[in-house]
Symmetry: C2
Subunit: 263 residues, 2 copies
DNA sequence: CGCCCATTTGACAGCTTTCAAATCGCGTGG
DNA sequence: CCACGCGATTTGAAAGCTGTCAAATGGGCG
């Protein structure tokens, strides 16, 4: 059942299995994809706006973020990505990249040639469907972010970002209780939520004072999930996580998590 | 070369041809898709958040918009769609719809069963690739909108919306000079840009006073494209319109358009 | 002619931004 | 082990863009 030889791309399989029912043959074909595994330092650009990209990138460890720079020089972060996420498909099917992708932390990734992906999709329809579905989930997150920066208060936006990254880390099997890694500075939180770092700082102080979160260096502890979720106006449906359906509206509290063994 | 029988889905072919090189066989297969053509009144919901959707929808005429409603009751418009756009693929590959799709005007659409699309994609890889690429362009627009509501001023956001819809109408072959149909009320412009209708009204007055645009009922005239584009911080690269490459950074002025015959 | 929705207008409150400047945290070098 | 350096976090005060709340005006349609 589990695959043997150098399963570098296993995070990719795990992800695609969430998006469609893959047969063993499908999974083997994915694992057999040609790829180059590498480590990259914090700050490294994976894609630059305007680039012509001919490969995609599977996240194995660490965090990256997509962003755009507007005319005034301000930066807008568009999404954050972690283990299992597949990025750069956009850029590889389209003419040129319309945004930047940059490492938020030191990362481990696998680069897969664009043509290998296209060939795979041509021969394994269910894999194609899974990858396509994954890009559609990507788009769903973008839509939620539009609503987040467009119609929520600063407090809600920031709390929402915490909820999203926490749940996605859980889904990727990265969590250990209510404690999550937190790769963003306050300035980056601002760039993700359309706020200034100064204001982010003040809102963060509020969330801490209310006992919703606790921050340490590079980590965050969610002390009160229920209230944080409410403060965030967060509904995880947009993440399209299978089996999250029932747990979603009211996700298990931190204490329940310990016994549920889901982490 | 041109196709004969009831080419209801021709707008879809024209769109997909922008996304990939389709053979005649590919095109015929698309035109042969089973579908139901219908007219729907302004305000009709095509997809509701939470729906389980089993069809997609090709726009033939009129405008629709996607939107979400946040906890406070405020609405955020996520995108506007016109002739040739294919919507509801998101909802048909994923479990349930994460946003609403509603008619902005009276519209003409063709509904295609989800399974027919999946079958088609399985048998015609280039069609699959074209449709996939089209959904990726969709995602690109979402990303630009995140940057728009997140990091631009009210004036830029609104001007940007005008630029986008103008260029997309041109690309769809809907325009007749610098005069475009404009299906949105000021309140809807606000919902699309994260502003209130009151403020939209004031900004609009500014744009008119500066001679950038002129609005009539349901229509807008772009009087000074170059300056509107500059006021909008608009760069059309994110639309991924073929051949717009060179015209993009500096698009032909209104006067040039008349002689270029591009409309 | 009258209703209803969209557009305007005014005054005022307020959430966020700006602009500095101080403090903190932490890896590095002496 | 401690000083240094630099980025990240905090803090303060003041300005400003945008929102809020009404109310008036305008335009289209039955």
């Amino acid at each position: 059942m589990l695959l043997s030889l150098a399963p570098t791309l296993r995070p990719m399989i795990e992800r695609l299995r969430l998006r469609a029912d893959l047969s063993l043959a499908d999974a083997d074909a994915v694992l057999a994809l040609p790829h180059r595994r590498t480590f990259l330092d914090h700050g490294t650009y994976i894609v630059r706006e305007g680039d012509h990209v001919d490969r995609c990138c599977v996240m194995l460890a660490g965090f990256v973020y997509r962003h755009k720079v507007v005319g005034s020089g301000a930066r807008q972060i568009l999404s954050v990505h972690l283990r299992g996420d597949i990025i750069g498909l956009q850029s590889s099917l389209l003419e040129q990249a319309d945004h930047n992708v940059q490492a938020l932390t030191r990362i481990e990734v696998a680069f897969i040639p664009r043509q290998a992906i296209l060939d795979l999709c041509g021969r394994y329809p269910m894999v194609a469907r899974a990858i396509w579905a994954d890009t559609l989930v990507d788009a769903s997150l973008f839509r939620e972010w539009i609503a987040n920066v467009g119609r929520r208060t600063a407090r809600q936006r920031i709390a929402h970002l915490f909820c999203e990254l926490a749940l996605r880390q859980e889904a990727a099997g990265l969590c250990e209780g209510p404690d999550y890694s937190w790769p963003m500075t306050q300035e980056q939180i601002g760039d993700a939520t359309g706020l200034t770092s100064v204001h982010v700082n003040r809102v963060l102080q509020g969330l801490r004072a209310e006992g919703l979160i606790r921050t340490a260096k590079q980590r965050v502890t969610i002390l009160d999930w229920d209230n944080l979720q409410e403060a965030a106006d967060f509904n995880c449906a947009y993440l399209h996580l299978p089996e999250a359906d029932s747990r979603c509206a009211r996700r298990p509290s931190s204490s329940e998590l310990a016994t549920a063994g889901s982490c």
